[in-house]
Every structure is written in C-alpha cells, then in structure tokens.
Symmetry: C2
Subunit: 117 residues, 2 copies
Amino acid sequence: MQINANFWVEKDGEVVLSRWRVALLQAIDESGSISAAAERMGIPYRRAWDRVHECEERLGLKLIDTQTGGLGGGGAQLTREGTEYVRRFQHFSSGLDELIKDRFREAFEGTDLEKRS
Amino acid sequence: MQINANFWVEKDGEVVLSRWRVALLQAIDESGSISAAAERMGIPYRRAWDRVHECEERLGLKLIDTQTGGLGGGGAQLTREGTEYVRRFQHFSSGLDELIKDRFREAFEGTDLEKRS
C-alpha cells in the first residue's frame, strides 16, 4: 500500500500549475527543447507546447524562452521566472510528501492499510 | 488562485481508496442506496457498484452491506469497517488541506501566486 498525492493550482476553475506541468517544465529545462521534453513525458510535441502556453497565459508571465532554427534546430529553456516557479513548486510538493506519509500512517494506525504501507 | 490536493492509496499500481471513492462511500451511507449515491456523484449505477467492489477486493474487506428488494427497493449502508475507513480517510485528508494551503503560501511568498491565493 502506498499513499500518493497530487497538488495543483487553479484559477477560475482552470489548472495553472500541477505536479505534471511542473515536471514538463523541468524536462524542458533539462533536455533543452520542448520536443525532447514531450518525448520524455510521453506526449505529442503539440500537447507539450499547448500546456506550457496555457500555464503562461494563466499565470500572466513567460515561463520558457524558445530559439527557433539554427544548428541542431530550435531550443527552449526556462526563463528566470520559470526557474523560480518550478523551484518553489518542487520545494512545496516534495516537502509535503514525507508529511503526508506520516499523517497517513497515523490516520490508519492499527488497520491493514497502515501495516502494509 | 487556489491550491488543491488529491490523495489516493495504491496497491500494486491500482487505486484502493481516493478522495473520490471515499466521497462515493459517504454518499452511499448518507443516501442509503448505491443508486442514489451514483446519481449524487453524477455517474451510472454500474460504475458506482464497480468502484465499491474494486475497493472491497483490493482492501480484502467488506465496505458496504446491501439489502435487495423489499419495500422501497434495495438499500445499502457502510459496514463497521467501511465506516471506520471513511472516517479515517476523511480525518487524514481534511487535516491536510489547511496545512497544504499554509505551505503553499509559504512556498510562493512574494509571488503573484501567493498574493492571489
């Protein structure tokens, strides 16, 4: 048994940031391109592009810088603000994971769920 | 901006309990039948029935008692263990919600996400 958690930020009922979206941004930063990040996340390029641009629109700021063409095709990297948001979200969610595990064990103490967690 | 969280328990990659499944169990308990609970959750009767039985199989215990037929049709209610699991999960997740909001504000302090949360 394993307890899992997802966190996401909504604005007017729409997802602004989530674990998955932050993982996508991080993959773009690590791989240096949207297409490589899309492949790593197992989604089409177009969907990756759309999700990033949705986040940017909903946050009202630029998260990635893209360079088109040139030797080796275009590239992408996080802006200063993109880096900052990814860092903050990662800090927020990873800090909570341990706490959630502890709380879960406490809440289900003495049951099979706790014993098998 | 609003931070949201979902929690779920997995066993061998399959969902055993989640916020949604616990809400379904609670709806069965409150309404006294699977069909009324399904309607409240906006899903077909069959899916509600399947989800409950999946939980029971994966947990290895009975969560609801059903009575078929009789005056007013069949009814359903949580077993003692079902009640216990719902209570524990609710306690676990509602206790975390406030904490997550606080952590989120801390993590995004000084950014637009915090100001608008």
